[in-house]
């Protein structure tokens, strides 16, 4: 169960990173793009198990 | 305005007076690197103790284990029982009491503060009734000073014929002041290891 949760959370982090990435590309203003970028960096690092 | 000024002056004067009255002389340490064991108010010698000897604790701090180690080191003959009840204490001629409170120690021994206070009262009544020589050993330094620790120490002081203190724990003169007022010999130690000198003199086997 512990291992399953770990994988599940990693998948969720990955999906959220993907969503953030898409949102950066679709952002209608610089401010919004930067907001999504701020979310994207830690989500990416966590998906890759770097941080 | 004049009244206010007078009132202020009065308050200031009273404050200064209170400070003057309550000011205490700072404690001067007696021990040093060169002078590690200092005895005041007379001597306490081997002929003032008799066997059998018991080591016990009031407060259940770990200091009683240190005392046990010290006594083993000097090769003394004694019994060790940190939680000795009054009826057992009554069987001994000399009791060394390590005073100092420890919540962990009380917890480990399954004793509440109230139980330990009751045991201390009964034990000290027994030593008085049986004319047992009590040595107070306060060897835990400042860690064994505080409301509960001091309460335990105060109880033992009333029966103590001799006080042995690691001087760090006497930084307010508590033990030296009591010893001076009641003419009880007191030995101040620079560190806990210096207790070996005292215990050796009192309890080490004498070469035949």
């Amino acid at each position: 169960m512990i291992n399953v949760l770990f994988i599940l959370y990693r998948v969720i982090a990955g999906l959220l990173a993907l969503v953030a990435l898409v949102n950066i590309l679709r952002a209608k203003s610089l401010e919004k793009a930067l907001n999504h970028a701020i979310l994207f960096v830690p989500l990416l690092l966590r998906t890759l198990l770097i941080k | 305005m004049k009244k206010l000024t007078r009132l202020l002056a009065l308050v200031l004067a009273l404050t200064a007076l209170t400070a003057l009255v309550s000011a205490e002389a700072a404690y001067t340490f007696r021990t040093s690197k060169e002078n590690r064991v200092v005895t005041e108010n007379g001597e306490f010698t081997r002929d003032m103790v008799a066997e059998p000897v018991l080591i016990t604790s009031i407060g259940q701090s770990a200091d009683v284990s240190m005392l046990d180690a010290l006594m083993k080191k000097v090769g003394a003959t004694y019994t060790f029982n940190a939680t000795a009840p009054a009826d057992e204490v009554a069987k001994y001629k000399t009791v060394i009491i390590a005073s100092g409170a420890s919540g962990k120690g009380l917890g480990a021994a399954g004793i509440s503060e109230e139980d330990e206070i009751a045991r201390a009262e009964a034990l000290l009544k027994a030593v008085e009734e049986n004319e047992i020589t009590v040595i107070l050993a306060h060897i835990g330094g400042t860690n064994r000073r505080g409301a509960l620790s001091d309460r335990f120490s105060d109880m033992v002081l009333e029966q103590a014929k001799y006080i042995v203190v690691v001087e760090e724990g006497n930084d307010d003169g508590k033990f030296t002041d009591y010893a001076a007022e009641n003419e009880i010999p007191i030995t101040l130690l620079a560190t806990i290891a210096d207790a070996m000198t005292v215990l050796k003199d009192l309890f080490a086997p004498v070469a035949q």
């Binding site: 949760l5 770990f6 990693r10 209608k28 970028a37 | 806990i192």
Partner: protein
């Protein structure tokens, strides 16, 4: 959306990726293992903790165990540091053992990085250092990671909302992150959270190897009341008192008339999950834990520099001491250098080993080769650590 917006957004994405790469590189570097000196001829073998809990194999918790087996029956001791990876003196003391110790009777196990995962990250927002560097006399550099109290979340994630662990300790609310703290999860669980499995591995090591004495090295902030205390399980109280006394007598004989500031305290009956309580209760080992003082761990520490981390010089704490708010003798302008703190760990553990044989002759563990207290304090780790090549 027009081309200009897409281009702008792509630039932002590329900038984010660059930032992730740059930051990620530093985080990734910290995940790389330390290199230790392993050419001590007394070293019998390097075991893995997974030998004692196979569930750890291939995980970030499978730490190295340095085994020194004399082949002569006698006492067995386990000395470990790195339960908390930011408590550097305990790690350095263990490293000093690994590089120098020789065992002529009995067996010694040394683990320098008990919570291996904890060395791969530092605590966020605390501006902690990530490495210590020592330039040796031959000009080479030895580097040791400094981590944090808890296992890295990339290795154990997510933290549950509630955990009743095998010690009976309830981890919840503000304490829930302690599920990644080795010293709240002893005696561990064979298959559970990573840290629980590491704790179980340590327990099985103690049971399988019939460890008589266990020494868990730690450090604490200056505000912590029990600095320089040896915390002993009740079965280890005699051992602890004898060791402290012997350490002080030896120090005085060597001219250090003040002795060591070591004090003894009993393991709390409700210290569930901590090594001295849980391993003391659940194994036959005499369990002890020692805390030295580390200024960089305090909340009032100065800017974290190599000087603070290695030399322990903290003007803030000097000021606090002058104001009478703290009274530890180590908070002076001379600082509390890592060599002094590691030397305290070494002296405490060395004398525990000595007392083991003194009190229980059938459990004699004879060790030699360690630098003396004065050697380490005078020469520093720059003069004591061995070059890797």
């Amino acid at each position: 959306m027009n081309t200009k917006h897409i281009l702008r957004n792509v630039v932002v994405l590329l900038a984010a990726l660059a930032l992730a790469f740059l930051a990620g590189q530093e985080f990734y570097d910290l995940q790389q293992p330390d290199e230790f000196y392993t050419a001590n001829p007394a070293l019998t073998r390097i075991a893995k903790l997974s030998e004692y809990n196979p569930n750890l194999k291939g995980t970030a918790g499978d730490t190295d165990i340095y085994v020194f087996d004399s082949g002569v029956p006698g006492g067995v001791a386990l000395i470990y540091g790195g339960t908390h990876a930011n408590e550097t003196a305990a790690v350095m003391s263990a490293i000093t053992y690994i590089e120098n110790v020789s065992v002529s009777q009995g067996k010694l196990f040394v683990i320098p990085q008990a919570n291996l995962s904890a060395f791969s990250a530092t605590l966020p927002l605390r501006a902690q250092a990530s490495h210590m560097n020592f330039t040796l006399t031959d000009g080479s550099t030895r580097q040791v990671r400094i981590g944090t109290r808890l296992a890295n979340p990339v290795h154990q994630w997510p933290d549950p909302n509630y955990r009743l662990n095998t010690s009976g300790r309830m981890l919840q609310h503000g304490e829930i992150a302690e599920i990644r703290n080795l010293n709240r999860n002893h005696p561990g669980l064979e298959e559970g959270y990573l840290v629980e499995m590491v704790c179980y591995g340590i327990r099985k090591l103690v049971e399988t190897e019939n460890v008589d004495l266990l020494f868990d090295g730690h450090e604490a902030s200056p505000e912590f009341r029990a600095v320089n205390f040896l915390i002993a399980h009740e079965r280890a109280m005699d051992l602890g008192s004898a060791a402290i006394l012997n350490a002080n007598l030896d120090a005085m004989m060597e001219g250090n008339m003040d002795g060591y500031p070591f004090k003894l305290d009993r393991s709390g009956a409700t210290s569930w999950g901590l090594s001295h309580r849980a391993l003391g209760d659940n194994t036959n080992a005499m369990a002890t834990l020692f805390e030295s003082l580390n200024p960089v761990m305090g909340f009032c520490h100065d800017k974290v520099t190599e000087e603070l981390v290695k030399d322990g010089i903290s003007p803030n704490y000097v000021k606090i001491t002058e104001l009478g708010l703290l009274s530890s003798g180590e908070l002076t302008e001379a600082g509390s250098p890592i060599e002094l703190r590691a030397a305290y760990h070494m002296e405490m553990s060395r004398h525990l080993i000595g007392a083991l044989g003194e009190l229980y002759p059938e459990k004699t563990l004879t060790i030699s080769g360690l630098p003396t207290f004065n050697d380490l304090v005078t020469n520093g780790f720059e003069g004591i650590l061995k070059p890797l090549k």
